[in-house]
């Protein structure tokens, strides 16, 4: 396993108004992975990214990018990073081509029209290359921001809530670009509060709330570890109520009496499925169909954040 591309050790950030937005965050990102940072509004996702990129100063800890300390050796560190910010902040009067070329230059890369052209084509922006940015729709502006972030061929790409308020076509294009980048070895860190996004794309997931990184886990393992499964039994004949022998088993009977739902922990030594099926047969309940359902990241996430029994901070004032 090669060195991690990004390491945060004990990173904390207190804003000038005294608000503690990051509380000693430790995180290590592997080269080439897609990492989803999942958390509610105000959790500190943007603050974390901004600290890595040098947009906000942080008050404690260290950050290294590709082995370069992002304060002492900020040039080498930043040159590796591309950032698509959360807010749609673009120039207005510049053309798409100019603004993308500008970023490339800013990141110290010599002019290369072929690279800029490829990036623009990948993002379906080629036809708009001579348009002024202010004439573009919101979705197109977001594409421009992505193009800017890719213009200097970064090794580490941050996508801060990339699909918030984005249409289907852009989502599709974006994931296509992300897939291609990953194939080329680019590391991608995306933040989101949409669970599906993390579920769909990520190799690993980190959950952050109130400035604390609550856990970091392989996506598959996370779902296994924290996941509960539901066994859904469709009955041959509806029941009016659960037989007394089956009470206290965590079974739920649907309102129409035709389905039984058994929730179990996939990690438990016994799932109780075998005994349940036996007991049902003994009661003379016949099963027509059955399916199991894995709980989604959303359920896991809601569970984790709720565990901290404090309401999550809402978006900044």
């Amino acid at each position: 396993m090669s060195d991690p591309i990004l390491v945060l050790s004990g990173v904390s950030k207190t804003y000038k108004n005294g608000f503690e937005a990051l509380k000693s965050v430790d995180l290590s990102i592997r080269r080439g992975e897609i990492f989803a940072l999942l958390g509610p509004n105000g959790a500190g996702k943007t603050t974390l990214i901004s600290a890595v990129c040098g947009i906000v100063s942080f008050t404690g800890g260290t950050i290294t990018v590709g082995g370069h300390d992002n304060r002492r050796d900020y040039k080498a560190a930043r040159a590796m990073i591309g950032l698509v910010p959360q807010e749609l902040t673009t120039d207005a009067f510049e053309t798409v081509w100019d603004t993308v070329s500008f970023t490339r230059g800013l990141f110290g890369k010599s002019r290369d029209d072929a690279v800029v052209e490829r990036v623009l084509r990948d993002l379906s922006l080629w036809e708009k290359k001579d348009s002024k940015i202010m004439t573009l729709s919101g979705g197109m502006k977001r594409r421009v921001l992505i193009a800017k972030a890719l213009a200097h061929e970064p090794e580490l790409l941050f996508l801060d809530e990339p699909t918030a308020g984005v249409d289907v076509a852009l989502r599709r294009d974006m994931w296509e670009v992300v897939r291609r980048l990953r194939e080329n070895g680019t590391t991608i860190i995306l933040t989101t509060h949409y669970i599906e996004e993390a579920e769909e794309m990520a190799d690993r997931v980190g959950v952050i709330a109130r400035g604390e990184l609550l856990l970091v886990e392989e996506k598959a393992r996370l779902m296994e570890k924290l996941g509960h499964k539901e066994l859904i039994l469709t009955l041959d004949a509806p029941l009016s109520s659960l037989p007394p022998a089956l009470a206290d088993r965590g079974l739920q009977l649907a309102a129409d009496g035709a389905t039984l739902v058994h929730t179990y922990d996939t990690n438990a030594p016994r799932t109780g499925i075998a005994t349940l099926v036996g007991d049902l047969a003994r009661e003379g309940i016949r099963i027509r169909d059955l399916e199991t359902r894995q709980s989604s990241l959303e359920d896991i996430f809601v569970g984790l954040v709720a565990d901290k029994n404090q309401p999550a901070e809402e978006a900044r004032p």
């Binding site: 000038k16 990129c53 040098g54 100063s57 040039k75 009067f93 490339r104 230059g105």
Partner: protein, 253 residues
């Protein structure tokens, strides 16, 4: 040294200027012409020679300086204030550029525009008066030094300002009055002695005086003093810029 970045910022700023070239060039040319009509022709015809040159020619260096100061300030302050205002500053902050490179790009572009403008005003002036420049190299030196100094001053204002009004505040309330009182239209020596001494506290006096010396070979204060003072202001502005980046003042939260 990230030269590509310096160049990118420089080109970006020059393009911004090109898009509004008409108002960037035409309005100073018109206002300069008006000054000549009013002060040079209408009033100046009643004023005898000042320090051995016609009044019309006498005010040329002051007029150029006046425009130079105003344009350097407004160009450079707007150049850095606008990205802060619109949020696009994130890109500059996250790029592998040193403070020096950022300043070189923004201040370099603002100073270039000012020098071009100064040259255009000189050419305009030449249409109205018989203009002779005794020390063209010294003139160029003052032109460039002043443009750089006040572009840097403008950069500081652009970082300090947290609204468009504040952007106008310093040029309007401080620099323009100082320029008018600094001998743009008269020689300090025409004042009563007390006010001569007071005037010497005005930094712009040294800029105008040195610049005027390069034209006519004489001025209110010695050219050496002017040059030294110009470098002092340059140093002060530089120190302010360094302090800003050291502390991240108003740039990073």
């Amino acid at each position: 040294m990230n030269l590509a970045a310096v160049w990118a910022i420089y080109v970006f700023e020059m393009n911004r200027w090109r898009r509004t070239i008409l108002q960037s060039i035409v309005s100073p040319v018109i206002s300069t012409s008006l000054y000549f009509v009013v002060f040079g022709a209408a009033i100046g015809s009643r004023i005898p020679e000042v320090e051995g040159v016609s009044y019309g020619a006498f005010i040329v260096p002051g007029l150029v300086m006046l425009s130079l100061l105003q344009q350097s300030l407004s160009n450079a302050s707007f150049g850095i204030y606008f990205p802060r205002f619109s949020g696009t500053i994130y890109e500059i902050l996250s790029a592998p550029v040193s403070p020096f490179e950022i300043v070189a790009g923004y201040v370099g572009a603002a100073a270039t525009k000012s020098v071009i403008l100064g040259a255009i005003i000189l050419l305009t002036a030449a249409l109205f008066v018989d203009l002779r420049i005794q020390h063209p190299l010294v003139m160029l030196l003052f032109l460039v030094l002043t443009a750089v100094t006040f572009s840097m001053f403008g950069f500081v204002i652009g970082i300090w300002a947290d609204g468009f009004e504040k952007l106008q505040l310093v040029p309007l309330l401080i620099v323009t009055p100082l320029a008018f009182l600094g001998g743009a239209f008269y020689s300090i020596r025409m004042l009563p002695e007390f006010w001569q001494d007071v005037s010497l506290l005005n930094p712009v006096v040294y800029l105008i005086s040195g610049f005027r010396w390069s034209f006519f070979g004489q001025a209110d204060v010695s050219v050496t003093t002017s040059l030294v003072m110009t470098f002092v202001f340059l140093g002060l502005c530089l120190a302010a810029v360094v302090a800003i980046f050291r502390t991240g003042w108003r740039l990073k939260s």
